[in-house]
Symmetry: D2
Subunit: 390 residues, 4 copies
């Protein structure tokens, strides 16, 4: 309840950051930049912001970048920045999926830390190759499954770990949207075009774009490992080449069961990521659109509304919360938390220190799992919903 201040940590020097993709008209690039800025741990100093050189230069100017560090390609950026005395220490990759692997490789091989948007890659083969590259690199690889940055998601995870829910039995996760209800990709809407293009997105449509978030969230919160799934995928919009709705039944190791629904054709749902977890001792519920709340019901007691930084919230949430309860934090703050966790890891790496065990960020392994999830969904659906092992 208190309105006490939270001291910023004594700040390390800002990490020099480059960006691949994210030029004019991009959605997620601007998000990454705001996220990188919020906690003042990064300074954007270079960019290969578009595959169109003209647009790359203009976007660099708009962002106030030094023209000498505004590049026409990520490869050029990787090569030159690696040679600069004060070249970038980290790079954000915010392109469509099919570029992730090739781009990440260039930086990882040069010891530049990579912060990469999800899904990891557009196919599992690339994902595995990227994992190999990341594992062999001294540089860190951070995947921006940004929803894991929400304080109340951390709270949920902590409560599961603490045993507040008992043994997990049922996981219901869903991620409905409505923005692809009509065939907007056929009218040139940029965000829709690449997300519905197998060449850029991979085999999954809604499964790749948002299903991976839902799957990642379910595993993050519960700590469970998915054993197998049975999926029924649809492309409801005529002419659409990738799934825009997916119904998936889940079986976790140890016996918990779940359902996952993702959809981009569900009118009235803007960005409806939601997770519910039920165990022998209690249940929790969290909704992304109202992220400062976590419902918790200890079985046999009244439902409780735990709020970010409010009474009942624990250390894991407090650690990544900036302002008092009742003052809502949102999507950008959660995204910024991924960046700030990355900064903590990078700063430790710079000193050769061990990363603090409290620092949490999605890894290349999470990324491989996400792509495997997408391919398993597609495979199961092609086999009429047969169970497919992960």
């Amino acid at each position: 309840m208190a309105i006490e201040g939270k001291d910023e940590q004594a700040r390390e020097p800002r990490i020099r950051l480059g960006m691949v993709g994210g030029g004019a008209g991009a959605f997620i690039g601007a998000v990454h930049r705001m996220a990188a800025r919020l906690d003042d741990q990064f300074e954007l100093v270079a960019g290969a912001l578009s595959s169109t050189p003209e647009k790359a230069m203009q976007s660099g100017r708009d962002l106030g970048l030094d023209p000498a560090r505004t590049y026409g390609s990520y490869k050029e950026m990787a090569i030159r920045e690696a040679r600069l005395k004060n070249g970038i220490e980290a790079v954000s990759i915010v392109t469509p999926n099919h570029v992730h692997y090739e781009a990440a490789k260039e930086f990882l091989r040069r010891g530049i830390h990579v912060i990469c948007d999800k899904p990891l890659t557009s196919n599992l083969a690339d994902a595995k190759k990227l994992k190999k590259v990341a594992d062999e690199s001294d540089a860190l690889f951070i995947l921006t499954h940004n929803y894991t940055g929400y304080p109340m998601v951390r709270q949920a995870r902590e409560m599961v770990q603490n045993g507040d829910l008992g043994t997990i039995r049922v996981v219901q996760v869903e991620y409905p949207q409505d923005w692809l209800t009509e065939a907007v990709e056929q009218t040139g809407a940029k965000q829709a075009v690449w997300r519905t293009d197998p060449a850029q997105s991979g085999a999954g449509g809604s499964t790749g774009d948002i299903g991976t978030h839902a799957y990642n969230l379910a595993c993050f919160v519960t700590g469970l490992t998915l054993e197998s799934l049975a999926a029924d995928l649809d492309s409801f919009v005529e002419g659409r080449r990738l799934d825009d709705n997916a119904h998936v039944m889940l079986r976790f190791e140890g016996g918990a069961k779940g359902m996952l629904w993702c959809s981009q054709v569900a009118p009235g749902n803007e960005n409806g990521l939601k997770i519910r977890v039920y165990g022998t001792k209690g249940g929790i519920e969290w909704t992304q659109a109202d992220p400062n709340y976590l419902w918790f019901t200890p079985f046999g007691e009244p439902k409780r509304l735990i709020t970010r930084n409010g009474a009942g919230a624990g250390a894991a949430a407090a650690r990544v919360s900036r302002i008092p309860s009742g003052h809502p934090e949102g999507y950008l703050e959660a995204f910024a938390t991924i960046y700030t966790e990355a900064a903590r890891a990078i700063n430790a790496a710079k000193k050769g220190a061990k990363i603090d065990k409290d620092v949490i960020y999605p890894t290349v392994d999470d990324g491989v799992k996400g792509v495997a999830f997408v391919e398993a969904c597609v495979a199961s659906s092609k086999k009429n919903g047969a169970w497919v092992k992960l």
Copy 2:
């Protein structure tokens, strides 16, 4: 918005009603009695309230029944009442599932209308036999899928019929509860004991008790016919003999898809029946716990909150609504609507008149479908979630 009165219809003489089951300690029997009373269309005059004669007599006394019309068995009641000059015209059957068929048969064969709790029977063979008896009888058969009596459920159905949602693509229906989270049937809790006993309930646990409601609601609102399903059923509580959690994927005729989740082991869910329907033009959402609201989003417009008897609600809802908007109606009112619809049908039958086309109540056919749904769930789950045709 107005607070205008709604005239009761000029009342027909009350229909003379008997009851099978519903003695002391029963939950649903009392509900049926309140539902029958609310709109003053019935008068309870006879009962076979328990299979234990002593308890049957005591329960009859408690309810103020004439001892001469308090029977020790439903068969006795059927025989005697059929002979009385002013014997019962209708009977409510509110026993555990396995009794429904035999009891209903006795009354239907004697021309006494039957109002029967769901699921129709404890197995599909009985269900089909009961359908045959009902089809051959002059008496009516009404199944109390009570949730179809909610005004906003009627509103939802009307909106689908009016095309407000366009072509239906996705149906998400769920019915979580938490009261069987622990093995209460092993401690003798009456409601739990019979619901988890295959001999009394049939092959389905949660699927029969609440899954049938969810399935019925999905079909009622959308007008769709289920083509096939794939189910994954669990009995999470050790020693439980029937499913207490079910994950089901749905394929409807015409291409719509859906998911159905029912559970009795989801802490924090008291009686969480909820349906969401999405089409090419809009989406709706309704939650039983807050039944006076219907969310409607025409695609591309703001979400609207349609309220019972409020602006935006149509004729189908107004027809079954008693009081002005903002004055909440609840579960008993919705249940009473089933009774009042039954009364309208019975009164028409008494006059040999055609039942008004606006009168809606669940039929024996809905009941057969419900039992078929349960058996399909069980069959699919046994075949590792293979698709089973309905």
Copy 3:
């Protein structure tokens, strides 16, 4: 959480009930009849349903009353029924306010119990006279401040009594509606016409019609006595003769403070009665439109959602609750509880027994306070919002 049945009490013979007012087109008459029926404690057997004899007869026929007991005036009904062997034992008065006193008097003087709609009368002089008559009568007087019948209102009251909130400091109560936003009384809308007519309603418009409910609820829940108030009343709609919006500051004995807002010109509010109470140890919040929930925050702990018949609800709520949690009860059930409490009191009176201390219903004293509240609001507003003692 359980779905156990609640045994009805062994029923006493139904109380023979008459009704004054409530003919065709009335809103509240039908509500009283449903409320009287729900728990099966009353049987409507006589009526003076309209001051227009023709309409009175027709309304009686519609309700299935014996024509011999359908009267043209309440006085006639009182005289004749008092002489009948099985004449009415109680009467419901559901007319506009200005009739309450004269009508109630006729029945009370003849020993017939009175169940009367609120506000008690159209002016304080009548209220005091009615109190005198009621005090001198052997018959009971029950005022239908129906919102006190909601289980979660009982729960709130019990929690205050138990000290769960500590010492009460602040009471915020409001009752906004929107149905008089436009001058519907000028177009003949029956419910609006009499409610905006000083001759029928008294000096208060919104203050009398709904402000009295809010005031009564605040006192009922907190147990506090209002010491003085300062009010600012408006008639926003041109030509309206009574207030349609009232802002009132409250001072309670002992130092608690409060605000009361009632309005009939607040678009978007259907029937928005809401109360919030804050003490040294906790706070509660209850909203009539969602009546099965009570929010409770023990200071320094997470907010809890207490549900009707759910975990955390106590004996006072359970006593007046009919069905399991998650199965919503509504306005009619709360109204029915007032009738059932009245029946308990009447049945005790018939036996010469003491009324059980758990039986709670609003009395003539509550009614006098309500009318005094209205007149104090009007007086304060005329004196530019000066504090007026109650």
Copy 4:
């Protein structure tokens, strides 16, 4: 519904910013810094972060400031920075209230733009002097009534201006909190100590700290001017020297009426700023804790949920919104909007250009009104709630 990107505007060079107050342990200083950073329009380069020199230096180090520009007093900072070639162009003043006037004066007189926390000053005399200084300065003065930066608050204001609500009749605004329910100022809690100290806060406690926000919001949204008020203030916590609960009735020019409630002793309210506005044609409702939603009811139509950047939201909201609907923005984003509006104004001022008419920020005049509001509340309460003109 779309997930299209929003291009950042081509960025001007960052504005060089200093800060007065906001050292270790402060709440609002860190908020100002994050707000200044989010949209990348400012660079913090100097600070007088504490009145304790040692703490000032340490805080500067923690923030990565150049020690040469970390000052022991705001006066020293003003003098030196004004002489530097690249000295600060703007300063944020985030101290307790009583320092605002003296500090602001030093910067305004030197042509340095001032961004100042609210309330403007601790008393009206200072407020008027500050207004004079600001009016005479070429530098801009921006007051951080941050809640006016929320997109849906802008939306509400635009809808009122567009006439969507018709003529405003009723304004209900409230700002309850609970963090001062107990006497935490007596245990040394820093945020509580100065807020309950008349010497630092001024004559108002909750009225100054949060009541001014509520009052400002009401005027901002409705465009109305407060004519007079009647207030009843309390200090419920023993020993507290300033009000912790205030009940205020409002009369606006033109005839609209309102109520304002602010409290810091209402358990269960974290930061419950809420506004409801009702007019002849419709009503709106906005709650700070769920800031991405605006409820709008056109009279006689269903309630609509307008979402930030969703369907139904207009240009005023879109202009200050960063990310797609369904991706919640929060408190920091709204605060950042005040900074970004300030940057737009400052950048225009630097070029001698006119400030774009769409740029909106609270001014020194708003600040004077806020302090006058506090003093009027205190004066009215001392006169037993008499109406006091503003």
